[in-house]
């Protein structure tokens, strides 16, 4: 993956930049020794690594503002970082950048149950937002798989989703306000504890902008009352297409499950070997979860199971206890870990219209044979968000490149089927060069125009999202320093 050549002039200013940062931050919040900056050399897309010039760990909006102002004056690129769980390389540094980690900013600032909002610093992890309100019967809905570790800052940057967004939406549907620091250090407040914007929806624009428009330091999030109960049903089918048709029929029937998860045979086999969740060996497995009171759950599941029976399932298992529910989810939740046990893998994130599911799965399995690399499919079927996991061997020369080539073909297939390159992980560097496949030049130009307004010198996370050749002229604008 190509990254811009580090700017020697910036590297030459390193000691001055470090000195200026030390003047505004506590001594342990500026990391410049090469042995220590290595901790920030990559995120969860571990195939790509590059230690930053400096890493800073500010503790307040004011400190973030000071850091950005200095970097702006010095013309130093800044790469914001939440918890570093991005699968798309969203927090991958360049050698001439300052990594700005928000991990120390993890306080809950206000919980307001009457208005159903919580105000947090964005270094706080996703699951600990729920942790702060669950005693009172509330939760924060977006639930990315990495929710134990991932930060709200990263969730906002990537507009993260999760298994339950079929009902509750993704980050952008649950974000009400932010405090954001602009690249020049200016602090802006957008949105709040009220709904909708009185002007342009800047909040909607910021969410999912991959840390390229500003650094979000505080966020007001919608919290929701926990449902009375939830229960999953597990269904197995001996054909992918039949499972896909079953998903479509459930949705059409007017039942709205909170989650519909899909796993194919390679994935089922791997997770069974790893987690022993007791899954049936079949071509396709669905986990469908509904919520409500006991009686409501019974009613909804009976409708869902009636639909499933019409598709001749090889297995139809309604959970009868909390323990059984946990086991049904166990396999799904360990799917990535299980695939990782077998080999290195690359996790894709394309989304397709639900109706194209059978076609896309068939094409992926054909391509898997062509490329000679195995693929397991696990995904959020209700909204068409696929997660093909391509297995490869990082120690085998050429395998990573082959895997990337295969991955790119799958994503192009998603676009051709009427879908998109990424449903919830973000573009980062991983899908950056495929953007021209989904978008025409004028579409990309319109998006880059937004960045021009927020960050005219393209100093914030500059080498991400847009193909390097497309953004080249903007990234080489003369900077303020010297």
């Amino acid at each position: 993956m190509e990254m811009p050549i580090p700017d020697q002039a910036i590297l030459a200013r390193k000691s001055r930049v470090v000195e200026r940062l030390r003047a505004v931050l506590p001594v342990d919040a500026v990391i410049s020794e090469v042995s220590e900056t290595r901790a920030y050399e990559c995120d969860a897309l571990t195939a790509y690594k590059c230690p930053p010039m400096v890493a800073v760990l500010p503790s307040s909006t004011q400190e973030v503002s000071d850091v950005l102002r200095i970097c702006h004056e010095e013309g130093v690129p800044v790469v914001p970082r939440g918890s570093g769980t991005s699968l798309a390389g969203g927090a991958l540094p360049t050698a001439d950048c300052v990594i700005l980690g928000v991990a120390r900013m993890n306080d809950v600032l206000d919980t307001d149950y009457a208005n159903r909002v919580i105000r947090v610093q964005t270094g706080r992890t996703n699951l600990s937002v729920t942790g702060a309100v669950e005693e009172n019967g509330f939760f924060y809905a977006p639930d990315p798989s990495s929710q134990l570790a991932c930060a709200i800052a990263g969730n906002i940057a990537m507009n993260s989703g999760g298994a339950h967004c079929l009902k509750y939406g993704v980050t952008t549907n649950n974000l009400m306000g932010v405090t954001m620091v602009m690249m020049d250090g200016e602090v802006v407040e957008i949105g709040g504890a009220h709904m909708d914007s009185g002007g342009l929806d800047l909040l909607g624009l910021i969410c999912g902008s991959e840390g390229q428009l500003g650094v979000v330091t505080e966020a007001t999030l919608r919290i929701l009352p926990k449902p009375e109960g939830a229960r999953p049903v597990l269904m197995g089918f001996d054909d992918n297409e039949v499972a896909g048709a079953c998903v479509s029929d459930i949705i059409k029937a007017g039942v709205l499950p909170v989650a519909i998860e899909f796993m194919d045979r390679p994935c089922i086999e791997a997770t069974e070997a790893f987690a022993q969740a007791g899954y049936p060996m079949c071509e396709a497995l669905l986990i469908v979860e509904v919520e409500g009171s006991e009686a409501e759950i019974d009613h909804q599941l009976s409708l869902i199971m009636e639909i499933a029976r019409r598709h001749n399932p090889v297995e139809l298992r309604e959970s009868t206890s909390a323990d059984e529910s946990a086991r049904i989810w166990l396999g799904r939740k360990s799917a990535f870990g299980a695939m990782g046990q077998i080999n290195d893998y690359m996790c894709l994130d394309g989304t397709i219209p639900v109706s194209s599911l059978p076609f896309v799965l068939r094409r992926i399995s054909e391509m898997s044979e062509q490329f000679g690399l195995k693929v397991g499919n696990v995904f959020h079927a209700g909204d068409g968000n696929m997660h093909p996991l391509i297995l490869f061997d990082a120690n085998k020369p050429g395998d990573l490149e082959l895997c990337e080539e295969f991955g790119a073909e799958i994503l192009k297939l998603c676009v051709e089927a009427g879908g998109c390159l990424t449903g919830e992980h973000g573009v980062g560097i991983e899908k950056r060069d495929l953007m021209s496949y989904q978008y025409a030049p004028e579409d990309l130009e319109a998006q880059m125009a937004v960045k021009d307004v927020f960050d005219p010198q393209w100093l914030l996370n500059p080498a991400k999202v847009f193909p390097l050749d497309v953004s080249a002229s903007r990234r080489s604008l003369p900077v303020a320093a010297e």
């Binding site: 208005n115 342009l200 800047l202 007017g254 992980h425 998006q447």
Partner: protein, 376 residues
């Protein structure tokens, strides 16, 4: 009047425009100014509808009634319950899909199900320089690049003219019903609505108004879903508030629907004189804002997070409310008052600069609905 019937023709109109244009869908929402009208009605028709994928794609000029009819045939609907402005504003014409999306029009269900902007999956539009641009798509989860769909939604035609919109739709629930509580004070009503919204019973409407059925204030909580579930949850809510010593009544779907249509369309104000404002706020701030407003009349929706005010013509509600967590939009007033006070709440300087910057980039000549948002 210009009414192009293709996207390319619309782009040509914008490219060759020599002065400001008033972008018009159905012209029912009082947003079009007095410039040369550019109508989107020629860009009409549903191009794709997949009930099993909960998605519909249609031209921006498609009448909302066409969308509603197509969805109803599959027992689906637009879940954000867009308001019909015609009675309140005395406008005629046909509301269009593009109008709903460009003004981010949402009704009572916004409190639980989200706003129009939460259901918009993709857009095609022509910017102020005549470029044809697409963003998003027709799938429910999409983080490929910046979310210009949200930016367009609520930009009221000032950044570009929508030509096509794709939307997420939802099934129509089996039934619905409403619990009505009588004679609560504004403050108690907000408490009740907050408690109901904080319960697990999935309230999809929470409003408080006086003088709907008779003079007594009514606080209404709506529940939707399968029949047995709706009955169960309404009963649970009734039990929650049984110690409030207030009259409570559960009304069935037909009356419930009539009531919520009135809330959605601010029907209460359609016959009355004066200006109408729509204030988005933190629900718990509502009672204090109502007290400060010196308004003739008000009622609230969204659990208290949306307050509709009717004021004397020409009075500046924003000045009375002062600074608060939210914003006030002037929905109905004379052209003079609108021009003096502005339709939209002035933004804080930092935000205003960003908004102006975006407008400058997307509409460099300042010809799209000039002056509607912001006073530049």
């Amino acid at each position: 009047m210009t009414k192009p019937d293709t996207e390319a023709a619309l782009a040509d109109v914008i490219k060759s425009a020599t002065g400001p244009l008033s972008v018009r869908g159905g012209g029912t929402r009082g947003m079009s100014g007095g410039y040369a009208p550019l109508e989107t009605g020629g860009l009409s028709g549903i191009s794709l509808y997949e009930p099993g994928a909960l998605t519909i794609v249609a031209g921006a000029g498609t009448p909302l009634s066409d969308i509603d009819a197509a969805l109803a045939a599959e027992n689906q609907r637009l879940a954000f319950e867009p308001m019909d402005h015609r009675k309140l504003l005395g406008t005629t014409g046909t509301p269009t899909l593009g109008g709903v999306i460009s003004a981010n029009i949402s009704g009572p269900r916004r409190i639980q199900g989200g706003a129009a902007r939460d259901y918009a999956l993709g857009v095609r539009f022509v910017d102020g320089a005549g470029n044809i641009i697409k963003n998003g798509g027709r799938v429910m989860k999409n983080v490929t690049g910046y979310d210009l769909v949200k930016l367009m939604c609520g930009s009221c035609g000032t950044l570009g003219v929508l030509t096509e919109v794709s939307l997420k739709v939802l099934p129509v629930p089996e039934t619905s019903g409403t619990l009505m509580l009588r004679n609560l004070s504004n403050r108690d009503a907000v408490e009740v609505m907050s408690a109901a919204m904080g319960s697990p019973y999935e309230v999809t409407g929470a409003a408080h108004c006086a003088k709907i059925l008779d003079d007594a204030p009514i606080t209404a909580l709506r529940v939707e879903g399968f029949e047995a579930s709706v009955a169960y949850r309404l009963e649970k809510l009734r039990t929650m508030f049984s110690d409030r010593k207030t009259d409570m009544e559960i009304v069935p779907q037909e009356m419930s629907d009539w009531f919520w249509e009135g809330v959605r369309d601010a029907g209460k104000f359609s016959e009355a004189e004066g200006d109408v404002w729509r204030v988005s706020c933190k629900p718990s701030d509502g009672p204090a804002l109502e007290a400060a407003s010196e308004a003739e009349e008000c009622f609230c929706d969204w659990g208290g997070g949306l307050i509709w005010f009717r004021t004397r013509s020409g009075s500046d509600l924003r000045a009375k409310l002062g600074s608060f967590d939210g914003h006030a939009t002037l929905v109905r007033a004379s052209a003079e008052t609108k021009s003096k006070l502005g339709t939209f709440q002035p933004e804080a300087p930092g935000v205003a600069r960003l908004s102006a910057g975006l407008r400058q980039r997307f509409d460099p000549r300042g010809i799209l609905n000039t002056g509607l948002m912001g006073h530049e």
